[in-house]
Structure formats: structure tokens, C-alpha cells
């Protein structure tokens, strides 16, 4: 498999605090690549650097052979990177379907179109509905997004990531705050996606990580200390010591 995303020597510090420290990473096309690490290891910072939300101090990011280091977030999204947020980030004042439709609409050329009512464009609404259906939110399509439960918000985040059509999905703790049943459903769902999309997954739920990931990278104090198969990581002494807390 070829690398879809290549990261070279990425750095970011906030004042004196180093959030990411010389991160080198390859994400292969079609894999689920998990990044694990203790709280404050710089996982979310890494995702923000990859999606363009944060400017890196140094280092390079290459997507499908294309240098995107200096591209702003909206341009990276157009090139096929999308992210979900650890803390739910949706347009609360619009309907559930509207939220997904905006992701579809973003793929459909520019939006400086002023005349036709957006909600009457069936090609956009249908595609949005299809993605809602995939995550099991079809019945909530017309609800106001703010009225949804936390679990449903997490599902909606996934539906939006799907609808954005992005080849590379950066998922920031998608299981956060979900009950065991909801988590299990989401794991099953992401498993089905395997091969279809490339996923960089940040997750604290180790059962989910070991069930899903093809490869795992371990981030500690901003440094990648190991990358390998779940089996390698489980047996890596340094990882056990630094992260899994076993002596």
C-alpha cells in the first residue's frame, strides 16, 4: 500500500510547552491508523496541524504526493482531508439534514449561488440523507441539531465526515462520552468503512483501538515513540512503560 499522508518533522509549541516534537508519520491508503497517548500528549494538536486549523512551527505535510504544508484549512478540505472534533462541533441552529447537506454542498462547486432554494436541491439533499441513513440518524433528519442527544451528535459528526467525501478522515475521539452499546455500534460501523476511506483515529478506548486499527502510533509528550501493528505495540516495552502503565 502507498502512503496517502506523509508527515515530516512536524513541530508545534505553545509558549514554552512543546505540543508536537519532530513527528514523522505515514498514513497508508485505506488503513485505519490509530494515534494513542496519554492526556496532553499532543494528539489533538497533531490533528489540527494536519487539518490546517493550526499552523505548524516547522515540518512538512504531504497529501497524495502534494505538498499541503502551507495550505489553509478550507483548501485542505477541498483536497480531501476532513476532521471530526473531540468536542462536538456542529451548526446547532440548523437542522440535522442541513448540517450534512452543507458537507455535500461543499463538494458541489462554489456556493456563490443566490437564487435557487438550497433545500430544494434534491441531488444534495438525497446524498445527505443517504449519509444520515448510514449512521442511523435518518429519523432525526428534520430535528434541530441542538435537540439531539450527545450520542446522536457523535453520530452526526461521523455522517458529516462521510458526506464530505474526504479520502482522509481525521477522527478525534469519536467514542468520547458514548455508552458501551453506542461505542460498539460505532466500532462496527468504522470497521465497515475500512478500505473505503483512510482514517487517522485518536481514541482513548483501547478496546476500540485494538479492534479497529491496522497500525498504531504512540505519542508521548509530543514525540512519536513507536509505530507498528497492534501486536507490536502491545509487546513494545517502551510503550508499556510510558503509556500502558505496566512495569
Amino acid at each position: 500500500m502507498t502512503a496517502l499522508l506523509k508527515v515530516f518533522g512536524l513541530n508545534k509549541s505553545f509558549g514554552g510547552v512543546t505540543a508536537t516534537d519532530d513527528v514523522n508519520l505515514d498514513v497508508l491508503k485505506g488503513e485505519i491508523h490509530a494515534v494513542i497517548g496519554p492526556n496532553g500528549a499532543g494528539k489533538t494538536t497533531l490533528i489540527s496541524q494536519l487539518s490546517g486549523g493550526l499552523k505548524s512551527d516547522s515540518g512538512r505535510v504531504v497529501l497524495a504526493g502534494r505538498e499541503i504544508t502551507h495550505k489553509p484549512a478550507y483548501a485542505r478540505a477541498k483536497l480531501g482531508i476532513t476532521r471530526s472534533f473531540q468536542i462536538t462541533s456542529l451548526v446547532m441552529g440548523l437542522s440535522v439534514l442541513d448540517n450534512v447537506a452543507l458537507a455535500v454542498q461543499a463538494q458541489d462547486g462554489h456556493s456563490f449561488r443566490f437564487l435557487k432554494p438550497a433545500r430544494s436541491l434534491t441531488h444534495i439533499r438525497d446524498a445527505a440523507m443517504e449519509n444520515l441513513n448510514k449512521v442511523g440518524l435518518r429519523g432525526r433528519a428534520d430535528s434541530l441539531t441542538s435537540e439531539l442527544s450527545h450520542g446522536e451528535h457523535r453520530q452526526l459528526e461521523i455522517a458529516i465526515a462521510l458526506a464530505s467525501g474526504a479520502e482522509l478522515m481525521l477522527l478525534d475521539e469519536p467514542m468520547a462520552g458514548l455508552g458501551p452499546e453506542e461505542s460498539a455500534l460505532l466500532v462496527a460501523f468504522l470497521k465497515e468503512l475500512k478500505g473505503e476511506r483512510t482514517i487517522l483515529l485518536i481514541e482513548h478506548d483501547m478496546d476500540a483501538v485494538f479492534a479497529l486499527a491496522d497500525r498504531i502510533s504512540v505519542l508521548v509528550y509530543g514525540r512519536l515513540i513507536a509505530t507498528g501493528s497492534p501486536e507490536d505495540i502491545r509487546n513494545n516495552d517502551e510503550v508499556r512503560h510510558a503509556y500502558l502503565g505496566e512495569d
Partner: protein, 321 residues
């Protein structure tokens, strides 16, 4: 029969009343009320334009009165030169020229100030829009050619084909039709793909950027459309008052516009109209009772903001959709 929501009915009844009542007042010899209605409807156009960016775009502009002033001066300056000579390039009574100038200058002012203001957020955006409008205010205050503070009185109104603006009823009807047009225009824009992006950026800008929208340019476009519409309201106001002064652009005027939008209920089509109507009527009523009318007026506005969610239109929304 028409199937309308409560909000729809309120809008329908309100707009029909605005179409019928003022002419009736005129014919029954109460010309003053037609005057009041004209001011109300023209300010409503400005409020509707502000609502596009404030209510739907989340851009709290504290400088919208600048556009009213620019629109009014686009009538006053050409008319002034046509009467007294000088500045041949613009000297004219031609209404279509005035209109084009009002909308064009306002759009340009919006483009330049918006391009800078929209790089900021929140309180900074509020302050910088106010600063730009105060710059326009002080500029016109310092222009001796146009009587500075004392303002311009125009003797001849804009000359339009088929419409005589010296006839108060015709001026009113033009303003009314313009208001309906402005409301429809905003409604169409808001429901379009552009409008969805605008509303999305209001609700969650980071999400929209992550989806691939360069929200800055969408916001700037909305800001320019809004400014141009407000400049059009200024064109009407200049012709209505025939007295144009820098005071039209003062930041307190911008504050009033903002209040009309919030009072009526931001992000509803009729809210801005209801807000400006309530504002103008109550101001008129209270100021006829006492010279200290600002105090009860202020208390009432505070009450509305504190106790009624979504402004006056919120009352009808709560009643059922």
C-alpha cells in the same frame, strides 16, 4: 386558502396594514401619519439589510448608519451642485443616477471596510465597524463645501421616470414596494446555497472551514450586499427628508438600527420590519408625552431583550409553528 404559520400570518397582516393604512390616513386628512409611515418603512429597509448580516450571518455591525448617510449624500451632493454649480461630473437631478451612486458608493464602502473588519471577530468587529462609520461621520462633518455639521437642504428631489417623489403618496408607495422587494431579496438569499453557508458560518465557523468553505469571502459578499441595500434606504431617506446631515451617520443611529433588528427579532423576515415599526411608533408616542421619553423607552427595550426570547417575533413563534 393560503396555509400560513403564525409567523406567516403576522407578516401577511402587518404588510397588508402597511400597504393600506398610510394612504387611508392621507385621504382622511391625517397627512402626518403618512409621513410617519414613510420614515418607518424606509428605516425598515435599512433594518432588513442589517438583519441579513446580523440575524443570518452573525455579524454585529455597529456602523450601518454610515450606509444610510452615504446613500443620502448621493442624492444631496449631485442635487446641490446641480442647483449651485461646480463639480460638473456629478451635478444632476437624475434619480437613476442618484440611485446608482447611492448603491455603488455604499457597496464600495462596504467592500473596503468589510475586507478589514471581517478579519476580526466579536467585540472587535463591533468596534471596528463603528470606527469606520464614525470616520465617515467626521469626514462629512468637516466638509465645508457641504455645510459640514449644518447639512445640505435639497430643493429639488431626485427625478425618476414615471414617479414623482414630490408627491408624498408616491414616495411612500415606492418605499413600501422597495421594502417588500428587500424582504423578498433577503429571503431568497438566505434560502440559497450562499445563505446556507452564511448561516453555517454564523453557527460554527470552524466547522464550515473544515468542510472546505472559505467563509471570509462569503461573509464579505453578504456584507457588501447588505451595505448596498442600506445605501438604497439612504437614497429614499434623503429624498424623504430633503435635509441631509452627517447626523444620519452618527453611531447612535447605527445603534438604533441594531436595536430595531433585535427588538423585532433577528433572523426572521418580518422581525426587522416589526422592530422598526415598534421603535418609530413608540418613539413618536412617548416623545409627544414627555421630553424625557428616552427613559421609559430604554426601560421598555431592556425589558423586551431580557424577557422575550427572539424579540417581538418570538412571541408569535412560541404560540405555535
Amino acid at each position: 386558502m393560503l396555509k400560513l404559520s403564525v409567523v406567516g400570518w403576522v407578516t401577511f397582516v402587518g404588510m397588508v396594514a402597511l400597504a393600506i393604512l398610510p394612504p387611508v390616513f392621507l385621504w382622511t386628512g391625517h397627512a402626518f401619519y403618512l409621513d410617519l409611515a414613510s420614515r418607518l418603512v424606509i428605516l425598515a429597509i435599512a433594518a432588513v439589510s442589517l438583519n441579513l448580516i446580523l440575524g443570518y450571518g452573525g455579524m454585529v455591525s455597529f456602523g450601518h448608519a454610515a450606509f444610510i448617510g452615504l446613500g443620502a449624500y448621493a442624492v444631496g451632493i449631485p442635487a446641490h451642485h446641480a442647483t449651485w454649480g461646480g463639480f460638473e461630473a456629478v451635478a444632476s437631478y437624475n434619480g437613476l443616477f442618484h440611485l446608482l451612486l447611492a448603491v455603488g458608493i455604499s457597496a464600495l464602502f462596504a467592500l473596503i471596510t468589510g475586507a478589514i473588519s471581517l478579519r476580526t471577530k466579536g467585540v472587535y468587529f463591533i468596534m471596528i465597524t463603528m470606527a469606520f462609520s464614525q470616520m465617515a461621520f467626521f469626514l462629512f462633518q468637516s466638509l465645508e463645501v457641504y455645510n459640514g455639521d449644518d447639512g445640505l437642504t435639497i430643493d429639488i428631489r431626485s427625478e425618476l421616470p414615471m414617479i414623482n417623489l414630490d408627491d408624498p403618496l408616491q414616495l411612500y408607495l415606492l418605499s413600501y414596494v422597495s421594502l417588500v422587494g428587500a424582504m423578498i431579496l433577503v429571503k431568497i438569499i438566505v434560502n440559497s446555497r450562499f445563505g446556507m453557508v452564511l448561516q453555517g458560518a454564523k453557527g460554527n465557523n470552524e466547522r464550515m472551514v473544515t468542510l472546505g468553505y472559505n467563509t471570509y469571502f462569503y461573509r464579505l459578499t453578504a456584507y457588501v450586499i447588505s451595505g448596498a441595500m442600506c445605501g438604497y434606504a439612504g437614497f429614499l431617506l434623503g429624498n424623504f427628508t430633503t435635509f441631509i446631515s452627517p447626523d444620519m451617520m452618527h453611531w447612535t443611529r447605527s445603534g438604533e438600527l441594531m436595536f430595531m433588528v433585535i427588538l423585532g427579532g433577528a433572523s426572521t423576515a418580518f422581525g426587522a420590519v416589526l422592530g422598526s415599526s415598534t421603535f418609530v411608533l413608540i418613539e413618536e408616542f412617548l416623545s409627544s408625552l414627555t421630553t424625557f421619553w428616552h427613559l421609559p423607552f430604554g426601560l421598555m427595550l431592556i425589558g423586551v431583550v431580557l424577557f422575550i426570547r427572539g424579540g417581538l417575533m418570538g412571541l408569535f413563534k412560541a404560540g405555535g409553528k
